[in-house]
Structures are given as structure tokens and as C-alpha cells.
Symmetry: C2
């Protein structure tokens, strides 16, 4: 059973809750927009379902509702930022905008951020850049749930990488991917539905293939994209490493296994090797490289060429990166967003708790 | 049977051959260094075995031994370069250095290159940046041998992405990866040895799983990292797309299926959508973000932490990206480089043809 809400309903609700917990109205609205963007784009795991976590973090003083974001170091094309423990949904857009501004000025711009929290979907930031005739990139690190190839321990987050390339008549190519085969969400769903895990998704606490969800959940880990060595698991591991180092070692945030858990983290837990978690944003100004119209026309032609690829038997042919999310978004705008009973129940609890109407 | 050569022997040989074919001595030496770096790092597919292709390209006038590399557009942090049809092994280092210089000046630097040819191993360029207290990134596109997920056609190259993070006492973390499950080299070896392909490596000309090497070689294609949809094949596809667009759409090179074949390409083949193939180089100056010693100490700690990961049963635990290549390099320096009979035969033919001593 599910209940349908309009995009605006959910945005207003999330914004009211965050404002009630001390966030300035403007920040609350921005954070709500990014949160609901995940639901709209079919990435429910990063959407309103996480409001509970954000609320808990603000309530417990683990996230700062009124961060004084501080520039720690900068150069003409770079900034290192201390997010002062703010919500990633607020610190993230600020940091990304700094990168976009520097790209506008000197061709490219980059921001490394420490002392932040989960920033929502990485694709949001890449898409914001596209609106400004920039090609944007976003990475973040996250709580460790992933084993490096040949490891039997959670050492890395499902650290995403996103980039968007704008077309002229065609919608942008949007890449937004975690370096894992599967997701925590999929493991939890398999458990709820009493299903076995697919081979290659996860390992148990000894690094053996996990078939039952509990084997993963009880101290096991997700596998990196590729899974085994023979199928390229070392490459997915490399991608997770890349986002971890750009996000945290450039900025001075916690990296690898030290990234605080989302929602259940107590400040001051030892060991800490940095400040909360980190992000990395970049942007390239298109006309620093090529005439923007020419660039976008080429993207259009690229998209049309790839849409015309001979389909593999039994399929309707390749998608363009970003297609599924854009389709989901169109449906969300038209029909609203369907939330499961359990999520609605959580939201009602938050509504009662914060004295905000759902 | 194999013959062993010292690193210097092979470098001198390759340099002499390229010089004989019209490359300035300095360019020939540089190209030879990059070529042999592949053999040293255990990536033989990109090493001296390809000298035959480079020779053919220079002989047939398909590569320009004396390119007049031209800046097409620039900003304080970016350059777009026309490689004038030169060897990628010569145009690549020039372009990478431009990116490094701009990073030194304004914090980050980026070069998009069109009208170039295959540039060797991407990791070489990332490692050069590390020597200058920069974090370097390199991408290139390449001849299409890869199918997009759900495609039954060769639409993308095995376009690599490389990045290197320098440590203080520890050697750098070096990521250098193609976005595919397997490689053309591995398919060819399987054919030679009469073995079946592993499941998930490749498809035949209809997009069905290829078990026999000939099914792939005869109009089939390599699969992207992840392989099937359930195991994340769309993510490997995204990585191949990313490198293709950065390398070619930013610079005006051929992209996707239009990238000319290596070694057998005739100039002027239609359709062309750009100039030869493209690369993309970037660099971040470490001290634009953080004190370099602090950064490198953190990399050291990162490496030591990950080396101490609990090993999966039956393994000796995770490697650090770059470990296998560095080990191969140490062996190559000590014992030389072993080349198979067939490769030696090819080199002897080149030696005779160019009147150069092997």
C-alpha cells in the first residue's frame, strides 16, 4: 500500500520540519529541494525516507542548523571549505556554487569540503552546473559499508561520482553512480521480502560470498563494481578510493572506515582522523574549451548516435545516462510521489513530533 | 619461449626506430620512454608490442612525425589543443605539461586535446603530475571495441581513466583502469590458447553472451565493467561515456564509434565527426587545497590503514591501487623485460626494415 503526495507537498513538509529544527528558512527550502529531487529522480534511498536521520542529527546536536561555513584555503580556481557541521544539503550547494563561480572566472573551479554531512544525490550538483553552461562534477564519501577487493571488512562508503554534460535540444547526459554492484537498500529489501542475494552483490564477515541478506547485514559488506577479481572488482574498488580521497584527503575530512555513520553517529567517537565527512565539487566552463553551441550540438549528435545503436537481442537498446531518472522525474511531476506505508508512518511521527502538518 | 631485454635496450631501440621515421630525437626518446613504461608496469598490451602500429602509422603518413601542436582556445586554467596528427606519445606529454603548468599557476589546470593518436598508458601522465606535487588525471578515448549496455555494436573504446595521489613515505596510490570487464588482449589470448571466454566478458554480434573468442572477434564487443544490468553494467558504460566526452567533445576529436582504428586507419575515412582521437588531462595543485606534507602524511596513513584490512578468507588481503604495477616495475628494472618470440620477431622485422640494431 502506498500514499501519493505531490512534489510540492513533500518539499513544503521537509522544509517546515527543518525550519522547525532551527535551519534558516532559505536553507530549509534548499535542503528540502535536494532531498525531494532524489524521490523525483527515482533514487528513493536518498530522499524523504532519510528525513528521520536528518531530524535525529539536528535534534541531537550532531548536525549544526546554522553553520558558519569557513574558507580554509583558496587559489584562483580552488577552495577548501570547512562546513562547520552543517547539513550536507546546505553546505553542499554552497560549496558547489563556489566551484561554479571560479569556473566562470578562470575556466575551472574546484571545492573540497570537510566537516559536512550527507549531501543527498550527487547528480543534483552536476545538473546545477549544467544550468550555468558548465560541466559539473560531484563526489562525496559516505559511511563505510563496502569491502575493498579481497577484504572482509567495511572500509569504504558507496562513494558516488556524478557528472552532467548539457545538450542543446537533447536533455543532458547525467552520470550519477556509486562504485558498488548493489546497495544497502537492495539488501534490506531482499531481507524484508525473504529473498536471497544475487551472486556478486555482497560478502559476509569473512569475505565469503553472502547469499542471505543477514550474512551481509551482520558485519558483512557490499562488493565493489565488478565484484570478483576476474570480473574487475579491483576497478570498482579504485573508483570508491578515488572519491574517498578527493572528498576527504583534499579537505581534511574523515576518510574510509572513519566516516561517521549517518544518523546514529555520536560526535567525538574515536578514532577520528578528520572532520565529519567530505565532498568534492568541480566545474569546467564549456566556452573555456570550445564554442558552447558547437559543444552542445555535438552532445546532441552523440546522444542520437547512441540511441541508434543496434539493440542486443531481447532489449530495446542502450539508454543514455540519465534517461531512467528523467523519466521518473516526469512521472513524479505529473502523478506525484508514491510513498510506502512505513515511510508515511515515519513522516507522520516527525509531523507530530515537530508540530508540522503533513 | 621468451627473450629478455633490459629496459634501456628497449627504450633505445624504440627511440632509434621513431627517429629513423622522422621524429625529432627528443620526441622519439620521450615516446620510447612512455611506450616502455607500459612494459615495465606489466601493461604489455600498450608497450613495445605496439611499435609495429606506430611504425605503420608514421610510414603511411597517418601520424605526423613533426607535429606543430597548436593552442586553439585557452583560459587561465584550461587549454584546448590541436595535436596536428602527432603521436599521442608526443602530443600527450606536451598537453599534460600545459595542464600541470596552469595548475601550478592558478590551482588547477586542464587540457583537452583533439587530432592526436594513442598516448600509451594513462597512468604515466598521472604519475608525472605526482612528481610536481600535483594530483594528476588523464583520460583518452580509443577505437570502439565496447558495447554500451543492451547494445550489440562496438560504440565505445576501452577509454581509460587514471589518477595518482602521492604519499610522503609510501609510494603513490595509482589508479589506471579501463571501464571494461576484460580486454581485447585477453580475448586474443583465449583464442590462441583455445579457451572459452569467462561469462560476462563479451557479447557476440547480436548482443548475446559470447563464449567462444571468435564470437566476440567476429563483430561482437567487450562488455562494460559490471557486465549485465543486475551487476551494474550500466555503471561501466557511464565510465566509458565520461572519458569519451571529456576526451573528444571538449576538444573536437572523433568520439564513440568514429574514433579511427589504431594502425589500420586510412585518413579521410568517412564519416568523421572530429579530428582523430582525443585526450583530457587535469591536475590539482596539492597546496591549493591543503598543506602538502599533511596531505601526503594522510595518504600514508590511508595506505597503511587499508593494508591492515582484515583479509577475505583465502586471500592475503586488499592491495593498494598501483601495487601490481609497481611490483612489475621493480622486477623489470632488476631482471629486464621478457618478450615472447612473436614480439621479438616483429621487432627484428622493424629493425631490418628501419636499419636499426635491436
Amino acid at each position: 500500500v502506498s500514499v501519493r503526495f505531490s512534489v510540492d507537498q513533500l518539499k513544503r513538509f521537509a522544509a517546515s520540519v527543518l525550519a522547525r529544527l532551527g535551519c534558516p528558512e532559505e536553507d530549509a527550502a534548499l535542503a528540502a529541494t535536494i532531498l525531494i529531487a532524489a524521490d523525483m529522480r527515482g533514487i528513493e534511498s536518498h530522499g524523504i525516507v532519510r528525513l528521520t536521520n536528518y531530524v535525529a542529527m539536528l535534534r541531537d546536536g550532531r548536525a549544526n542548523p546554522r553553520p558558519k561555513v569557513r574558507i580554509v584555503r583558496e587559489s584562483p580556481s580552488t577552495t577548501t571549505l570547512d562546513g562547520d557541521g552543517g547539513l550536507g544539503l546546505v553546505v553542499g550547494p554552497y560549496a558547489a556554487n563556489l566551484a561554479f563561480d571560479k569556473a566562470t572566472t578562470v575556466g575551472t573551479g574546484w571545492t573540497a569540503v570537510a566537516n559536512s554531512n550527507h549531501f543527498g544525490i550527487a547528480g543534483y550538483y552536476a545538473l546545477k552546473a549544467a544550468e550555468r553552461d558548465l560541466v559539473g562534477m560531484a563526489m562525496t564519501n559516505a559511511t563505510a559499508v563496502v569491502a575493498p577487493l579481497w577484504g572482509a571488512e567495511r572500509m569504504l562508503g558507496p562513494n558516488p561520482l556524478a557528472v552532467a554534460f548539457p545538450g542543446l535540444e537533447e536533455p543532458p547526459i547525467v552520470i550519477d553512480m556509486a562504485p558498488t554492484v548493489s546497495t544497502m537498500g537492495a539488501i534490506v529489501v531482499a531481507k524484508r521480502e525473504g529473498r536471497e542475494l544475487r551472486e556478486g552483490w555482497a560478502v559476509d564477515r569473512d569475505g565469503n560470498p553472502a547469499r542471505h541478506p543477514d550474512q551481509m547485514l551482520d558485519g558483512g559488506a557490499l562488493l565493489t563494481l565488478g565484484g570478483t577479481r576476474a570480473l574487475g572488482g579491483h576497478k570498482g574498488y579504485c573508483l570508491a578510493v578515488m572519491a574517498d580521497i578527493f572528498s576527504a584527503v583534499f579537505s581534511g575530512a574523515n576518510w574510509g572506515p572513519f566516516v561517521p555513520p549517518f544518523g546514529t553517529y555520536a560526535i567525538g567517537r574515536e578514532p577520528q582522523v578528520g572532520k565529519r565527512l567530505g565532498h568534492f565539487f568541480g566545474a569546467w566552463r564549456i566556452d573555456a574549451f570550445r564554442d558552447p553551441t558547437e559543444f552542445k550540438q555535438t552532445i546532441d549528435l552523440w546522444i542520437r548516435t547512441f540511441r541508434a545503436t543496434k539493440p542486443a537481442r531481447g532489449t530495446s537498446g542502450p539508454l543514455i545516462p540519465g534517461d531512467p531518472e528523467r523519466e521518473a522525474e516526469a512521472i513524479a511531476v505529473r502523478d506525484g510521489i508514491a510513498l510506502g506505508d512505513k515511510v508515511v508512518e515515519q513522516l507522520r511521527a516527525i509531523a507530530a513530533d515537530c508540530n508540522v502538518e503533513l
